[in-house]
């Protein structure tokens, strides 16, 4: 998760970098690294390519830093550059897979009915110490169509607000909300039945301890 950016410090850092303190760029970009990588991974679905694209994107940010106007958040601007880098790479690789960028649109019909349950026992985040649970969640997100995957990534994983997410992806806030809703419904439907097995066992645990 990303720490909230501080626009005052950011603006000051940018001013000083442009005035010649180039090494400060390391500190400026560090809070954005995670989001850059996972946004590109969500597009390219390949670790090595996502890492290479991340480096290219960060260098483009550095080279174009003088063009940043401060009328959007720095992170939003950075992620737009990263996304363009990723899209450029996708276009170069001709027929990619069924999940190409325009394969799915918001109008597309789909079944977004949730998994029907009659009770839910909360799975605490500490359960993520179990690698199999983390793997299951990651695979579920990676299995989402691209237009839903990147929304979950920006909104729920990198904790951007609706406006910032819309701005990075170049879509309306309404579209962000629709896609987010569908993405969460797809995840709930896919994951809820499987997650039940990870719920704390309550009394049984006590018996086991004895």
């Amino acid at each position: 998760m990303m720490t909230l950016s501080n626009p005052v410090t950011e603006a000051e850092l940018i001013r000083r970098i442009l005035a010649g303190e180039k090494q400060l760029f390391h500190a400026l970009i560090r809070p954005c690294e995670r989001a850059i990588y996972f946004l590109l991974f969500s597009l390219l679905r390949n670790e090595a390519e996502a890492e290479d694209a991340s480096q290219e994107a960060v260098i483009k940010v550095y080279r174009n830093l003088h063009l940043f106007r401060g009328d959007s958040q720095f992170r939003t601007w950075v992620l737009s550059i990263a996304r363009n880098e990723g899209l450029g790479r996708l276009r170069k690789t001709e027929t990619r897979r069924e999940d190409s960028l325009d394969a799915l649109t918001d109008g597309e019909a789909g079944d977004f009915t949730p998994a029907i349950l009659t009770s839910w026992r909360e799975i605490p985040t500490e359960t993520l110490e179990r690698q199999e649970l983390a793997d299951m969640l990651r695979e579920a997100i990676e299995g989402l169509p691209e237009i839903y995957r990147n929304i979950v990534l920006l909104r729920d994983i990198e904790e951007m607000d609706i406006r910032e997410t819309a701005s990075v992806l170049g879509i309306s806030e309404g579209a962000v909300k629709v896609r987010l809703h569908r993405a969460r419904a797809l995840l709930q439907r896919h994951l809820a039945p499987k997650l039940k097995g990870f719920a704390p066992k309550g009394r049984k645990l006590f018996g086991w301890m004895r």
Partner: protein
């Protein structure tokens, strides 16, 4: 008039984000009081949202940051941002 389950499902994501107006929220709350299915759907969806947001789900590849900053150092050595 009471809202039905499908209506509640349509608004679950917005409800979780606190993005429904007061009247609708009150209707959904009233529905949830007596509908165990919608309560479970809401709780499980919220649980999934919390779990996927955890840093342990997506981890950067080992050494990602140091390789990135090493590459940046090469770039920074080249000259001014132009």
């Amino acid at each position: 008039m009471r809202i039905d389950c499908k209506h509640v499902w349509q608004h679950i994501s917005a409800y979780i984000d606190g993005d429904v107006d007061g009247a609708l929220r009150a209707e959904i709350d009233k529905h949830l009081e007596t509908c165990e299915i919608c309560s479970a759907v809401l709780d499980s969806t919220r649980n999934v949202v919390v779990l996927v947001a955890d840093d342990r789900v997506f981890e950067l590849p080992a050494g990602f940051s140091s390789r990135l900053h090493a590459r940046l150092d090469q770039e920074l050595a080249l000259g001014e941002p132009s």
